[in-house]
């Protein structure tokens, strides 16, 4: 079962094979969790988003048609859910900050997010610095670097996942790499 391709597993899952679907969950739970973490910077939210992504996938199994890459499809679902979540959180934060400002209440310590809780400890110093600098990037740069470098998607697949043009992917990826390099250099670390 583990040797099967993604779309083959989907075909089996459509026929009611739960083991095939579990295999897909096992295969993609960590990449989706990482993507959601890069986007939301909150472990609890990312867990909920992973769960929601797989439930959406399971519910729409009969409507799913094979595309170029399953990764593109599943990352697209996760990304859309994450963006909706970020938008809702932003609205909630704006509402709360307006509320606290009105009553002169110190809300700076009421932060919901704790971005450092999920970062795995890395023994390699340079990898730790890269990790730290990745988190300092904007979410759109983080996600494009994750999709390209970590997941190895080509420009067309990234464009499909993000819902934008290939040209946009090209320029955004270049900007993300430039910024990451600048941030690493700012920390005084030699890149070698």
């Amino acid at each position: 079962m583990r040797s099967l391709e993604d779309w083959e597993l989907i075909a089996l899952a459509k026929q009611g094979n739960n083991e095939a679907f579990d295999c897909l969950v096992e295969r993609y739970k960590n990449p989706i969790f990482t993507l959601c973490l890069y986007l939301t910077k909150n472990a609890q939210s990312a867990e909920d988003l992973v769960q929601e992504t797989f439930i959406r996938l399971f519910k729409s199994l009969n409507r799913v048609k094979p595309q170029a890459q399953f990764k593109t499809f599943i990352f697209g679902i996760a990304r859309n859910l994450a963006l909706n979540h970020i938008r809702d959180e932003q609205r909630k934060r704006n509402f709360l900050s307006r509320f606290f400002d009105k009553f002169n209440f110190d809300h700076k310590n009421q932060s919901v997010h704790n971005p450092d809780t999920w970062i795995p400890n890395e023994s390699n110093e340079f990898v730790s610095v890269v990790q730290e600098c990745m988190l300092e990037l904007s979410p759109e740069h983080r996600e494009i670097l994750f999709l390209r470098e970590t997941q190895g998607l080509d420009y067309e697949s990234i464009a499909e996942t993000l819902g934008c043009q290939v040209g946009t992917v090209r320029s955004r990826l270049a900007r993300a790499r430039t910024q990451l390099r600048e941030k690493i250099l700012e920390k005084g670390v030699m890149i070698k």
Partner: protein
């Protein structure tokens, strides 16, 4: 020749671009572009090595449970909006509650006041009407009294008397003893008065 752009270096790194001869010559001769490409290459390798965050076992089990639940109840909608605080729903509910709380007293007051005003209006109207009718009747009576002559009064009385039937029983029930008694009283009266 101009330096390679960031986009060109990025694409070169990914292997999605083939440089022209001029660009290749420039890349070999330009230390700045070469350094940037090397640095990006190193960064790219390290980013690829970044470990994936691993989902906890508890969360994985939760996913399995949720999927099992969806499988068991395929037509039951997942109550995702109720799993977390749904601010739209809460706001809408609060607004409805507020509307009901404010609306009921308002509607009550509105109808109560209208009813009261109509009642007072009707009562004032009826009192004025009755006053007017009474005054009209009084005027009519006065006018009638003014216009009645003695003859008319006599005629009216006679009509009244003709309508009345005589109380025969009473008349016939007067006996001689009653007459005698009345006479005695009269004489007694006379005597006392004298």
């Amino acid at each position: 020749m101009r330096h390679l752009t960031d986009e060109q270096i990025s694409e070169l790194l990914d292997g999605f671009i083939t440089l022209s001869d001029k660009q290749q010559k420039h890349l070999k001769s330009c230390p700045e572009c070469t350094k940037k490409l090397e640095e990006w290459h190193h960064i790219s390798q390290y980013v690829q090595c970044l470990p994936l965050a691993s989902l906890s076992e508890e969360a994985s089990l939760k996913i399995s449970r949720e999927i099992k639940q969806v499988e068991d109840n395929p037509y039951q909608p997942i109550l995702a909006p109720f799993k977390k605080w749904n601010y739209k729903l809460i706001t809408a509910s609060a607004m409805c509650l507020l509307l009901v709380l404010v609306g009921i007293p308002w509607v009550y007051n509105y109808y109560y006041q209208t009813e009261e005003t109509t009642n007072t209006a009707v009562s004032t109207q009826t009192t004025t009407e009755t006053n007017q009718i009474a005054s009209n009747n009084a005027n009519i009576v006065i006018q009638e009294e003014e216009t009645l002559t003695d003859r008319d009064i006599f005629m009216n009385l006679s009509e009244e008397y003709t309508d009345m039937e005589p109380v025969k029983e009473e008349l016939y029930s007067i006996t001689i003893s009653d007459l005698m008694l009345s006479l005695a009283e009269e004489t007694d009266m006379f005597n006392t008065s004298m």
